[in-house]
Symmetry: C2
Subunit: 372 residues, 2 copies
DNA sequence: CTGTAAACTTGAAACGTTTCATGTTGTCTA
DNA sequence: TAGACAACATGAAACGTTTCAAGTTTACAG
């Protein structure tokens, strides 16, 4: 029974015209099992079958499949047999023997955010281009789930792990599984980390706002309790303010703060009663997510963006219904390149020593919340 | 060499204080291999190791691991040994023996659309809850890639396939791999299909617009050349118009038409020169994607939504920066339930005959493009 | 204390590959 | 034509599980 697909099962019922109940009697089940063997060739053909069909040995078939040189005549016979039997390698047998499985595991909080989903998408595409399968694990940022997924991954002898977690799982990663970390900053500094150049991005945002006329630039952001490269955006902001001799004006709370009220409160506190506008004329928001909320709050307070306040976010989140349009003006992370780097490093075919930190350049893109 | 992580490799170089070049001489490589064996215990412990450690037989260890009853004292010994050796099942060996791998393969066009990414997310969560791993395949809707992914999946002996494709791959699916299809309509009608109740959704949209005062309701949509349940939205629209005695007003083009110009053209053609507004006062757009573009076009023509024209889309696409807010008023597909159904049916633990079509109910949600 | 049934344990065989020492064939030289 | 070497083919062993027939222990009734 167990190996019959439902479709096939259904066909069989029709064919033999018996009821479901009768069907379950052992006698009939046996009959079915036998039929199955003769009708469909039950389990897929193996290399042995191919070898027999082609009249060569197991080793020769293996050589053909793995592209090892084989006499032309043998190769042809084997290839014909493979086609005839519709043979497919059993990658679990291969995995067992080789202890290489051709899978990469991605541990990511969620897909319900365009940044994560796009990153996951790009990583999948890169994995595909490198003939790897992608195992997707959405941890929701829950430490226990992160660990559980990790141990699943090691159990499955995955060939590499790409992680974007909210807890330090590096201690539990076996030495022999390649492991790269996106953005996050672990205790074990030897683990290769990949991120955007957030620091430069922060500087870029402030400079852009300055260039566009802002002289009073606020920072709005929420920091995770778990350290990562994204924290550098704030550092970039501070550094640029120093450079440009601007007075910082900052909302920087832990990320368990309710975002909307905090932003509203911060903005209201900074409204100049004389002008009715805010004391700042530019805002650098730590993420596009924050920037979108900032914009909504500003609009609800009848402060016009970008006329009264210009706004730059971070991430490069694109409108889902328009290729290449952004929800807000933003510093774009190079997602495709980040994905490529992650996959390349986790595969690391060259077997070189990997840099412990790889930063990729960001760029600015206008999204209507700035006057450019 | 090959099994050393880079981290470990690096440590080793430091330890032994030799140069990279020297390192590659065979002699030294051998030395390393030997060291590795003694230093880290190279490959993970196997059941045999556990059995030896616990002083029981292989079969007993297997029984403990698989929750088969075993004498209490043996169980304890085995569990201790497992902990001590940090044993983990090798799921490739298990997969080989059982020809069950614990994986579900999802073939989906992309993650760069909130509908797909949310669906993928929910399916992953369901897979996790059923102790399955999710292999993600983004085909970009390219037929060849769909087939390639499919054959990868069968080669990997996946336990089930959930597909949302733009070509009929059903013929290539082996009989013995459970297969369910999301939305799409294949030639082979025995394959279980899962979708939202698009027909009712279409009716719902029209009724809602009618309820809100519209008496002239247009349909705007683009149909794939590959048939699916989503085509029923249009049927629902037509049916509701008949019911309510409304005159249909339709833009329904193939989906390779450039969307933006088509919509602009359609709308402009339907502007009443007297009022400056459109002849229709309500629009049902086939997807939220279309609806968003419709809104942008309307706004660019200075037609106000929802004051002059009310607009309902389809899918239930939420704003990425606000839980439970929609980009447009919409008919929501029950993504979580759809995902649950897909996984449940592809696993089909009860081994029942599966319905060939499962439709799940949709519901309306306001998103600011209607006057409610 | 014995006999018997029930409960548990044992280890060889099998799953479908890859590997590799050994065997076979073919080719070229002298 | 023999000898030597290269090229290729062969199939048993191994990878780490599960399974299952056969063996051993335990519990309990008489």
């Amino acid at each position: 029974m167990c190996n019959l697909s439902n479709y096939y099962y259904f066909k069989f019922l029709v064919l033999v015209n018996i009821t479901y109940e009768t069907f379950h009697r052992n006698v009939i089940i046996d009959a079915v099992d036998k039929m199955e063997v003769s009708m469909t060739q039950k389990s897929s053909p193996t290399m042995k079958d191919v070898a027999r069909e082609a009249g060569v040995s197991l080793g020769t078939v293996s050589n053909v499949i793995n592209g090892i040189t084989v006499r032309e005549s043998s190769r042809r016979k084997v290839e014909e047999a493979i086609k005839k039997l519709n043979y497919q390698v059993n990658s679990y047998a291969r995995g067992l023997k080789m202890s290489r499985t051709g899978t990469i595991t991605l541990i990511i909080p969620t897909l319900n955010h365009p940044f994560f989903s796009e990153l996951a998408y790009e990583i999948e595409q890169q994995a595909y281009m490198n003939s790897r399968k992608l195992i997707l694990c959405c941890s929701n940022g829950i430490a226990e789930k992160e660990l559980e997924y990790l141990s699943l991954a090691t159990q499955n002898k995955t060939d590499g792990i790409i992680a974007l977690t909210y807890s330090d799982i590096s201690r539990q990663v076996p030495d022999n599984i390649p492991f790269v970390v996106f953005d996050r900053y672990f205790e074990n500094q030897q683990i290769p980390r990949i991120a955007s150049d957030n620091y430069t991005g922060g500087i870029m945002a402030v400079n852009k706002l300055y260039e566009l006329g802002c002289r009073n630039i606020a920072f709005i952001g929420f920091h995770s309790s778990f350290p990562g490269e994204a924290d550098k955006r704030f550092d970039g902001y501070m550094s640029a303010c120093r450079q440009l001799k601007l007075t910082p004006c900052i909302l920087h709370e832990p990320d368990d703060t309710p975002v909307d009220p905090a932003i509203r409160n911060f903005i209201e506190k900074n409204i100049d009663p004389k002008t009715g506008s805010t004391v700042f004329d530019g805002i650098f928001a730590n993420t596009d997510y924050d920037a979108c909320i900032v914009r909504e709050v500003l609009e609800s307070l009848n402060i016009r963006v970008p006329e009264q306040v210009q706004l730059i976010g971070f991430d490069g989140t694109k409108k889902f219904y328009a290729e290449n349009e952004y929800y807000v003006s933003t510093i774009c992370q190079p997602l495709k390149e980040l994905a490529r780097k992650c996959v390349e490093m986790v595969i690391n075919e060259s077997e070189e020593i990997l840099p412990s930190l790889t930063l990729l350049p960001v760029h600015y893109a206008s999204g209507g919340t700035t006057r450019d």
